[in-house]
């Protein structure tokens, strides 16, 4: 499956990536190649094989429901670009 240029723009938008018009052709080529690889994998006959959710043949470990992490707000917010009254500040986003 080959991607067209509009799909590349949509994917960039969804990924919040800014790409210049002169890069689009290269992205189109690279991403289409990846899809071609996936198509190749998809062509393999997998009848009777159970779908795999994870490459490791292991199951999830569970943790006890206990509070182990305590307040380290000052520590975490020391690297935040902008905080106020304990909040992380970001450009206004209202949906």
């Amino acid at each position: 499956m080959a991607l067209d240029q509009n799909q590349i723009r949509d994917i960039a938008e969804l990924s919040r990536l800014q790409i210049d018009d002169d890069q689009i052709t290269a992205y189109q080529q690279n991403l289409s190649n990846i899809l071609a690889l996936v198509d190749q994998l998809a062509a393999v006959d997998t009848q009777g094989i159970e779908p795999m959710a994870h490459p490791l043949d292991a199951t999830q470990r569970l943790r006890a429901d206990v509070v182990t992490e305590h307040n380290q707000r000052e520590h975490f917010q020391a690297i935040a670009p902008h905080t106020e009254q304990g909040h992380y500040l970001v450009p206004k986003v209202v949906e």
């Binding site: 994870h54 569970l62 304990g86 992380y88």
Partner: protein, 483 residues
Amino acid sequence: MEWEVVIGLEIHAQLATQSKIFSGAATAYGADANTQACAVDLGLPGVLPVFNEEALRMAVKFGLAIDAEIGKKSVFDRKNYFYPDSPKGYQTTQLHYPTVGMGHIDIELDDGSTRRINVTRAHLEEDAGKSVHEGFGGLSGIDLNRAGTPLIEIVSEPELRSAKEASAYFRKMHSIVTYLGICDGDLSQGSMRCDCNVSLRPKGQTEFGTRTEIKNVNSFRNVERAIEAEIERQMDILEEGGRIIQETRLYDADKNETRAMRSKEVANDYRYFPCPDLLPVIIDDNYIEAVRATLPELPDQKRHRFQKDHGLSAIDAAVLSSQRELAHYFETAAQIANDYKLAANWVQGDVSATLNRLELDITALPVSAEQLGQILLRIKDNTLNNGGAKEVFNALLADPSQTDIDALIDQLGLKQVSDTGAIEAIVNDVLAANPKLVESYLATPEDKRAKAIGPFIGLVRKAAKGVNPQVVMDVLQQQLNRL
């Protein structure tokens, strides 16, 4: 044209765990901003989520309560989107292998009948943080305390056919999760939120019309009102030959209308994929049976028992079983008094009226279930008449520290007088003091005397509080007939 309404609900219920679904940060409500957001919740590089066993157990418990298939293998997926209150850039959820599969609940309709509503699935996922848009000088403040709080999203089949049914379904789910103790059910704190999918189709048509989704409705009443408003809006458009646009809407309770949320320029595509940081969760029959053994009596079972074993009316049984705390209060009092019907009358009567008047929740009522049970016992052994019992109840309401009900009854002088001799004396005094009333009574034809005796009863009770009304009636009739 006649339209059929099609509604499906997605209910998010926060699970009442101590810690988050994938981290050891606390989930307590109301903490100072970002004091309960750890490195995992913040999505810092290099962290790994570890699944909370209690969240799993609660989800399985819910599944068993709605008679659902339990997923022996659940898989977490990433739902990718960008929004500042989700710092990882994705929500961890379950797409293809949810922990709870197809189940069902029964809802009670106004006419007393019940309807079975199928539940498509309930999956485990994490809540997002909160954005605050006011008070930060044109910026948005992000509080990630809620990020990572475990949720189950309960998805109904599109089988609800009216706003009333939708609200009954939401209430029933609320009742079930609170009975199970897996969610505190506090709607005002957002512990349960509801998305309503609404569409209309011409009656008889099998394919669905275009639906809209009303996001984040957070009260039973608003679910009903929001859906009513949306049905009306869609009907107006369709009647005029217009088309419904599939979109997300918000309900404005002040204006009682829904309105479109600002639509995104690019249609979202969540690009789900299995979360590589989490392995499949595997449970077996032993696990499921061990959880089943912990299921409490559920609202439907309790309602049935109240009705069948204790002779309550269908309505009393339904109301008194609908909320766990109310049911507990009622049953505690009923057991002390050993009289379910008397307790039902009181809880449905004076107790409910008091709760409404003081805008209290049953858990905050000053009069305890034990105290009410003691009052009821004293009605049953004729120590109190109904009026006296109300006085004791009101006295306790004003001062709940009175632990000895009998002492309180003495103190208030409410001990019912059942001694015939004493009542005879009072009756004779009343008759002697009201010769005109006696005269008019005697002039009353036999068949109307039952009514004419009323004023005497009032006078006797005024003269002596706490007289046994049945004895007063007997003595009055006896004395008047002698004249």
